[in-house]
């Protein structure tokens, strides 16, 4: 990924010496979104300033992408799956600690949530998180240790259990443990889990990003799968940020800022909605409201006290996830 991006960047810099250039380092499921958005932004920028702009994309697992940037991939902007991965960049002083205040809405121009993908007709009658903890249900979800998306899944289940079980931590842990005991496979990434469920035919339910679930539905046909939206889920806020140090060096600060800001414009929001992300803009959101299921969403800040804390409590070594498997 890194190499490809580097080669692309190099090629582009030779061919388009006159135009400006950006490298957007993103995560896996945004590929289609940014392909469409980059074209729209280039058009907008040209009409506004007369300057040609090429936006190069790099996609991969969110954590791996962040590490590439840490190790020197020259990303002007990052658009990752979770704030934790951008926090890691801030820790190395690539951008300021309060980066999440640089753009509106926690620097998350679009949101998503966690839903279930089940087989057509929902033969196991899965309606909510508690159905996943029942014996005899095979749950497909990736490994939270290696997948950012899987961490949202885990926290979604946790948020549900906490409300349902009146914050009794022992009971919540037991509930989560039951769900993960039902997982025959823990793929290393979100796309891998989708493959396991869709292509290998394994499992009764896939816990997935809402946008991934709709994409899978679009790709493999609604005659095979359907989406179940749980009563409570977590508001996934995939954040965006300008990598200040790199942008300064490339002298692309203004362009990078405009690029991310345009995500909040009506056109940007519309593209997000078209790609099954939930738009922030109320007007655009209303337009796409009918395509999403009704769900009450909780935020990571409210329930878990932010990503840093959630990571330390649940996914660090010895955290609640490890405790499920520890004897």
């Amino acid at each position: 990924m890194k190499k490809i991006a580097a080669v692309l960047a190099l090629l582009a810099s030779i061919g388009l010496a006159s135009g400006a250039e950006l490298l957007n380092v993103s995560y896996d499921p945004t590929r289609e979104l940014y392909t469409e958005y980059n074209a729209a932004f280039a058009k907008y920028w040209k009409s506004k300033t007369g300057q040609d702009v090429t936006v190069n994309q790099s996609h991969g697992g969110s954590g791996k992408q962040a590490r590439s940037v840490l190790d020197g991939l020259e990303a002007d902007v990052v658009t990752l799956a979770l704030a934790y991965d951008i926090d890691a960049l801030a820790e190395k002083k690539l951008l300021p600690d309060d980066w999440q205040k640089a753009f509106p809405e926690n620097s998350s121009p679009y949101t998503s949530t966690i839903v279930f993908l089940v087989r057509k007709g929902n033969p196991k009658g899965i309606k909510d998180w508690d159905d996943l903890a029942k014996p005899g249900i095979a749950v497909i979800t990736p490994n939270p240790k290696t997948s950012g998306g899987a961490r949202w899944n885990y926290l979604g289940a946790w948020a549900y259990a906490e409300q349902k079980l009146n914050k009794d931590e022992a009971k919540v842990k037991d509930f989560i443990g039951k769900i993960y005991k039902n997982a025959p496979v823990l793929d290393s990434g979100a796309r891998g889990a989708t493959t396991t469920f869709v292509q290998r035919g394994l499992g009764d339910v896939l816990i997935a990003w809402e946008n991934e679930a709709y994409l899978a539905l679009k790709e493999f046909g609604p005659e095979k799968f359907e989406i179940v939206t749980p009563s409570i889920s977590i508001l996934a806020e995939p954040p965006v940020a300008v990598v200040d140090v790199v942008a300064k060096r490339h002298k692309t600060e203004d362009l990078a800022k405009a690029y991310l800001n345009y995500l909040y414009s009506e056109e940007g929001q519309d593209i997000a909605g078209k790609n099954f992300y939930r738009p922030r803009d109320p007007k655009v959101a209303a337009k796409y409201a009918s395509q999403f299921g009704k769900v009450s969403l909780v935020t990571i800040d409210d329930v878990f006290g932010g990503w840093k804390k959630a990571q330390a409590t649940h996914f660090a070594d010895g955290g609640t996830f490890d405790q499920i498997y520890a004897k």
Partner: protein
């Protein structure tokens, strides 16, 4: 000091040392430096945790079994390919290299599709109650797949170089066919066989790409050590990851040293008893 007859010793040795330093030694030093960059206690705690110990057993254990399986079937394959002439021999011969050439992720996806409970091979096996994919057996199959060419390719030239006259001499001296194989052919091929098995083992221990697809990655059950390195990296724990890497490196180094010692002992024994 005796003057060497062959010129260019210093030049070529110099090149070799510099090259090895650049390609092997510097990355190794960087790895070590990264592991010792933090507190000892942290790295030690990581590499000795129960989860890691279980994964070492899995990674090294399955790699060992896989390389032994490859030893047996690789020997037979190399034997067939060098000893007999038959139609399609060249095709088979070129197929051997496929696991070398295939990106490991592709191998992993292909094997998983085949051995998953709804796959061509997996479905009938699942009816018999045998789970291959997302199980230890699946890991074993992936490791056998990627390690196979090493055994065949190291054995082939050795078996091809064994001339008929040695076997004829054995037969003339009254050896049965089995005796000829056991006492003449096998000892000559043994060093190459051990090398092949060792290479196959070394490759299997560190294999990541193909295994993660088929293993299922269940903690304490099917987590290979390289997966835990990735898990550490996902937590931005570079020291822990480097520490695990170092443990794997040292273990592999010890195993290689041990195998080399056997080789050395075997060559000496073989040479002194037969010549």
């Amino acid at each position: 000091m005796k003057r060497r007859i062959l010129p260019g010793f210093r030049l070529t040795l110099g090149y070799s040392v510099i090259y090895l330093t650049l390609i092997v030694l510097i990355p190794f030093v960087a790895l070590t430096a990264r592991a010792f960059n933090g507190t000892w206690a942290h790295v030690w705690g990581v590499v000795t945790s129960h989860r890691l110990i279980v994964s070492y057993q899995l990674s090294f254990g399955t790699a060992l079994v896989a390389s032994l399986i490859n030893g047996v079937f690789g020997f037979i394959t190399a034997w067939v390919l060098t000893r007999y002439r038959f139609p399609g021999r060249r095709v088979i011969d070129s197929l051997i290299d496929l696991p070398f050439a295939l990106p490991t992720a592709v191998a992993g996806i292909a094997l998983t599709a085949l051995y998953a409970p709804n796959g061509w091979v997996g479905a009938p096996l699942a009816k018999l109650g045998i789970a291959v994919a997302f199980n230890r057996l699946g890991i074993l199959i992936a490791l056998v797949f990627i390690g196979f060419p090493f055994v065949v390719r190291t054995l082939q030239p050795v078996l091809a170089a064994l001339t008929n006259d040695v076997e004829e001499a054995a037969a003339l001296l009254g050896a049965s066919r089995f005796q000829t194989f056991r006492r003449v052919i096998f000892p000559a091929a043994l060093p190459a066989l051990i090398t092949g098995i060792t290479l196959s083992f070394g490759r299997a221990v560190g294999e990541y790409g193909s295994v993660v697809f088929i293993s299922g990655n269940i903690p304490f059950k099917t987590e290979i050590t390289p997966l835990l390195i990735i898990a550490k990296l996902e937590q931005y724990d570079y020291q822990g990851a480097a520490g695990i890497g170092l443990v794997m490196l040292l273990a592999s180094f010890l195993i290689l040293a041990f195998v080399n010692a056997i080789q050395w002992w075997n060559t000496r024994r073989f040479n002194s008893s037969s010549l």
